[in-house]
């Protein structure tokens, strides 16, 4: 599904990613862990196409297509979804209006008919039922006046409605209390599907108690330095990230 080769990326002239290699198969869930400043969020932003990040080397293929050649909206239309670490407030636009605009933009790009307001409410109903959440957010302006937890939940609602092929969760667990974390994790689990791959970027191992990844990768200084199964997350939890620095010091 996703094939990242030797990816180098910079922001404002400073290279953050120094050659990332990562393959994510169809339906697989990969966790990317690492300390602050390791490049986790940069990787997520680069995949989503944030204009502040410049790719200087390497390739990214999405189902064989050149992802780096696409605009952010083309990536979304191709099935990429990133849950933002810091979701943005959109003045005056209700969630329902926003979600319809997003779904219709994607449908239009794929040559499918757009939904009208009435039809879309049924579609929305059905999709929210999947994650078991009520539609309390729908009449509120997008993320406006939402608590941190509500904003993160709202990202998952968008993911449920947009049904991506590749979902990137950028620190969706950060700042959540344990109840909110469980809610979000349960919803993400219901959205796991054989044709949906997920890349879960997280600083803490805690989230992985609730979402079991197929693979865990450790990102350090802009490179993936360790990869393994879900047990790697437990090892990191026990050892912390300090050993990375020691290894780096030894290698250097």
């Amino acid at each position: 599904m996703l094939d990242i080769k030797n990816l180098h990326a910079s922001v404002e002239g400073t290279e953050i990613l120094h050659g990332v290699n990562l393959k994510v198969g169809k339906g697989e869930v990969h966790a990317i862990m690492g300390p602050n400043g390791s490049g986790k969020s940069t990787l997520a932003q680069v995949l989503a196409g944030h204009p502040a990040y410049e790719v200087t080397e390497g390739t990214v293929a999405l189902a064989g297509a050149d992802l780096l050649d696409m605009s952010p909206e083309e990536r979304a239309q191709a099935g990429v979804f990133m849950a933002f670490q810091y979701p943005v407030e959109i003045r005056g636009i209700t969630n329902a209006y926003f979600l319809r605009a997003a779904v219709n933009a994607v449908r239009k790009a794929r040559g499918e008919p757009e939904y009208d307001t009435i039809d879309f409410l049924d579609v929305l109903d059905e999709k929210l039922k999947v994650i078991g959440w009520e539609d309390t957010f729908l009449t509120r302006a997008v993320n406006e006046g939402f608590s941190g937890g509500e904003k993160k939940r709202n990202e998952i609602i968008q993911m449920a409605v947009l049904e991506p092929k590749l979902a990137i969760l950028d620190e969706t667990d950060s700042g959540l209390d344990i109840d909110a974390l469980k809610l979000v994790a349960e919803a993400v689990n219901t959205l796991r599907a054989p044709d949906r791959s997920m890349v879960i970027v997280t600083h803490y191992q805690r989230l992985l108690n609730y979402i079991t990844p197929d693979y865990v990768h450790v990102l350090h200084n802009g490179r993936i330095v360790r990869s393994g199964g879900k047990e790697l997350a437990h090892e990191l939890e026990a050892k912390g990230y300090d050993w990375l620095r020691q290894e780096a010091a030894v290698a250097g």
């Binding site: 989503a48 196409g49 944030h50 204009p51 605009s71 952010p72 909206e73 083309e74 990536r75 979304a76 239309q77 979804f81 990133m82 933002f84 979701p87 943005v88 407030e89 959109i90 003045r91 005056g92 636009i93 209700t94 209006y97 926003f98 605009a101 997003a102 933009a105 994607v106 790009a109 302006a141 968008q158 947009l162």
Partner: protein, 446 residues
């Protein structure tokens, strides 16, 4: 004032003083009315038109109006007026309550006022001066003071007709009342003096749509004054839609005085006009009163809209909310002044003021200034303002959801309007204004 300044004021006001002498000779009316007019013209002659040297007018030059020669409008119904009214009224035709005023004069043949609740009066201020003389005398020109604003002085000096609405105690007017002020110039540039007095007694309730439109092609300037007297426990839902022709001038004052536990909600839309200024002055004059004053300007070309607001918390336990959004394209300009006064003893005041300006072009401009004057110690007053082009972070957020390019920009721009449209609780009006906002953002005719 220097001798030169005095001379300049006299030069600009002289035509109005002369016109006033004629006007007074031709207009009948009780002594109190003649006194009111006389005091007002005296005031106007003394102060003249404001200039940008006056603090309250420093962002807005009214030179275009002050230097012009505007005469009284001709009588009758000019061409295009009927169509202009038809274009802006909302709701099912058989249910509509519409009062139309052409160049400030009540026009019965373009009004539909069937089915008003018993005791409710809607119609001509000139008629009301005879039929409800005491009511008019008690309230007319008593709130919007000639002292406070030269344009109000000019309006009061020439007051003859206008809209008059009276809702007695405990009466609820279910159907929204629509007041349409049409201004239409002739061969000569004209000033259309429009006036409104709305009086609600205790526990009365009214929804009102007040619209300003232009017809025909002659040069005109609308000078509007609206006074609201909101009794104890009364509820008002007021919408003001200014859609003058884009070459017209519009100067206006809205005054409201609220009694105990009353609720006054005013949403102001500004789409039209070239030079526009609206002074809004809300006085919370009874404990537990609440007021909401919102506004939306959607402007382009060389349009200017200056909202100059004052919320006067005169009594304790009152709440006020203000939200003004503006979308400015091309060389358009917006001004927002938000003055909040908390009088001594007005404890537990809760006041919130916000203004947001979206600048869609490099040449667009917006100025926003809060003015807080707080003389009580147990109060909550907050204010905030945003100003700038479309937010890049928001743009990327939309793109990452598949909404790209112009569609993303349009959505973010529409959001500024939608935030105010969402405070319109009359559905047919909301839908109508939604279309107007969309059309204006897409630069279509509407």
């Amino acid at each position: 004032m220097t001798a030169v300044a005095v001379e300049r004021v006299a030069e600009r006001t002289a035509p109005y003083v002369t016109a006033h002498e004629e006007f007074v000779r031709a207009s009948a009316g009780p002594a109190w009315l003649q006194d009111l007019r006389q005091e007002a013209i005296t005031r106007f002659a003394a102060v003249g038109f404001p200039t940008t040297r006056d603090e309250a007018w420093r962002f807005t030059s009214v030179e275009r109006v002050a230097a012009g020669r505007f005469s009284a409008p001709p009588s009758g119904i000019p061409a295009g007026v009927r169509e202009a009214v038809a274009r802006v009224v909302v709701g099912e035709p058989h249910e509509r309550l519409v009062a139309t005023f052409v160049n400030g004069r009540f026009t019965k043949e373009l009004s539909t006022l069937v089915g008003l609740p018993s005791g409710v009066v809607v119609g001509s201020l000139a008629d009301a001066m005879r039929s409800h003389g005491d009511l008019v005398r008690t309230h007319l020109g008593r709130y919007a003071s000639a002292e406070a604003n030269p344009f109000t002085a000019l309006s009061t000096a020439f007051v003859a007709d206008g809209a008059f609405v009276y809702v007695p105690r405990n009466v609820v007017v279910e159907q929204p009342l629509q007041i349409v002020f049409v201004s239409s110039g002739g061969e000569e540039p004209i000033v259309s003096q429009t006036r409104a007095l709305f009086v609600l007694e205790e526990s009365a309730q009214l929804s009102l749509i007040e619209q300003y439109v232009g017809a025909g092609e002659g040069t005109y300037w609308t000078n509007a004054v609206t006074e609201w007297v909101v009794g104890d426990n009364a509820v008002v839902d007021a919408y003001r839609i200014q859609r003058e022709r884009t070459d017209a001038s519009h100067t206006a004052t809205t005054w409201s005085r609220q009694g105990r536990s009353s609720v006054f909600s005013a949403v102001n839309f500004a789409f039209g006009g070239h030079l526009c200024r609206h002074d809004i002055h809300a006085v919370l004059d009874g404990e537990g009163a609440e007021c909401t004053v919102n506004g939306l300007s959607v402007l382009r070309g060389n349009q200017l809209m200056d909202h100059h607001t004052t919320i006067d918390h005169a009594k304790p336990h009152c709440n006020s909310w203000e939200l003004f959004n503006g979308v400015y394209d091309e060389r358009a300009r917006g001004v927002f002044t938000g003055r909040i006064i908390v009088r001594p003893g007005a404890q537990k005041t809760d006041s919130k003021q916000t203004s947001n300006s979206l600048l869609l072009s490099e040449d667009a401009r917006s100025d926003s200034q809060p003015q807080l004057e707080i003389y009580a110690d147990d109060v909550k007053c907050t204010h905030g303002a945003t100003l700038g082009p479309i937010d890049e972070k928001s743009l990327f957020y939309l793109q990452s959801r598949g909404i790209g390019g112009q569609a993303a920009r349009n959505l973010l721009t529409y959001g500024f309007g939608a935030e105010i449209l969402n405070s319109v609780s009359l559905e047919p009006l909301r839908a109508h204004l939604d279309d107007v906002v969309h059309a204006r953002l897409e630069n279509r005719a509407h």
